[in-house]
Amino acid sequence: MIYLDNAATSFPKPKETIDFLNDFVLNVGGNPGRSGHALSLAAARSIFEAREKLAALFCVMDSERIIFTQNGTESLNLAILGLLKEKDHVITTSLEHNSVMRPLMFLSKEKGVGISVVQCSPDGNLDVGDIKKLIRKKTKAVVINHGSNIIGKVQPVGEIKKMIGGIALIVDACQTAGSFPVNVEEDNIDILCFSCHKSLYGIQGLGAIYIRNGIELAPLKFGGTGSRSESIEQPMFLPDRYESGTPNTPGIAALLGGLSFIERTGIETIIRRKQDLRQSILSGLSDIPQVVIYGDKDDGNQLPVISFNIEGKLPSEVGYELNKREIYTRVGLHCAPAAHRTIGSFPEGTVRAAPGYFTTDEEIAVFIDAVREIAGKTSAHS
């Protein structure tokens, strides 16, 4: 089996992820911050440690400004629905995931929020000056996909923030978190949204959001927090303001394991290995004449997320053939129709190969051979 769908969720997980998850479910199991007993406290400690490690990884000063959510999608919903008010204006790009586009469309219909979309080139390049041209008096935020889940293109978020000044920068770091350097201080990111189950090696069902001090979002959820229990008002202090209800503590414990793995291995080592894997996939695919690769192959600012097609074949057909060989890619639109329109692969989409830190060179070789073989076969549809 060869798993090349790490952009959807990473697999396999490091041993630490499984060990921490096991230990939590077997030996801890308490509801964090709710009671005074040792197991509740131990659960709260797992969450505290995970927050501290995330803060260190992304250069966040106050770890309480990192909030756990269900997934990257919930983080983006909290950022977008929590920040934008009636008749506000927002700028985004043509490379966004539906977890950005759909809440924005909802706001446009329900609250008259104005949306301007900056067109990126088919290679994913964005002219920062184009964003500037779209700024209006009512522009409240710029929402940008830090790393494309289709072609891996990484956007210059720091440069964008410099240009937009006081307008809030909401960064979708679902693909970059753990795969590319993310520094909220250096880049002055106001809101960072990410998944914890992709390159941070947590399990599914966990995401997080960082909210810069001074930015107030309306919560998506209200309820018990274990704090200020005498009051029926939602607390104002973080993280409790945005974390009502029993959290996914087993998931957070697993994330703590994943983050410990990253710390032990070194984020630079992980990033370097992933870049090597990207290069070897690109060079292997480039040798196959029928293969069309999307995005700029020579651009160094890219994630190991590679979209391609085989001339004369539907991506679904290629995915099916790969799956028969126990090679798991993701084909189609990857929840990002706007991005596929941008790169010119709408409506069929692409085949996406996303290796992970645990992908081996042998696996890449087998994958390339399989693509070559499939490309040589006459299409079932022709």
Binding site: G36, A44, F48, S63, S229, P235
Partner: protein
């Protein structure tokens, strides 16, 4: 003297604990005494000198700080 340092969130309790760890101070995490707060969480119980530890935790906002001399609880002003 005993002090109870009560924070807004369990996150801040643990942050304060981390800031004091490895220093020569006698602290313990205990349930918040019910006469001091209606909160159902934990707080830090300190035995010893309050002024001595303040520099380490003054970045963490405290909800309440209470002293106990074995007879009486006294709410203290804090930063």
């Amino acid at each position: 003297m005993i002090y109870f340092l009560i924070f807004f969130t369990i996150h801040d309790v643990l942050k304060a604990e981390k800031a004091l760890k490895g220093r020569d101070v006698d602290i313990e995490l205990v349930p918040v005494p019910r006469n001091l707060s209606s909160d159902c969480g934990m707080c830090i119980k300190l035995r010893g000198d309050l002024e001595g530890i303040m520099p380490y935790i003054n970045g963490i906002e405290m909800d309440k700080c209470v002293s106990y001399d074995g007879k009486e609880y006294q709410f203290l002003a804090h930063s």
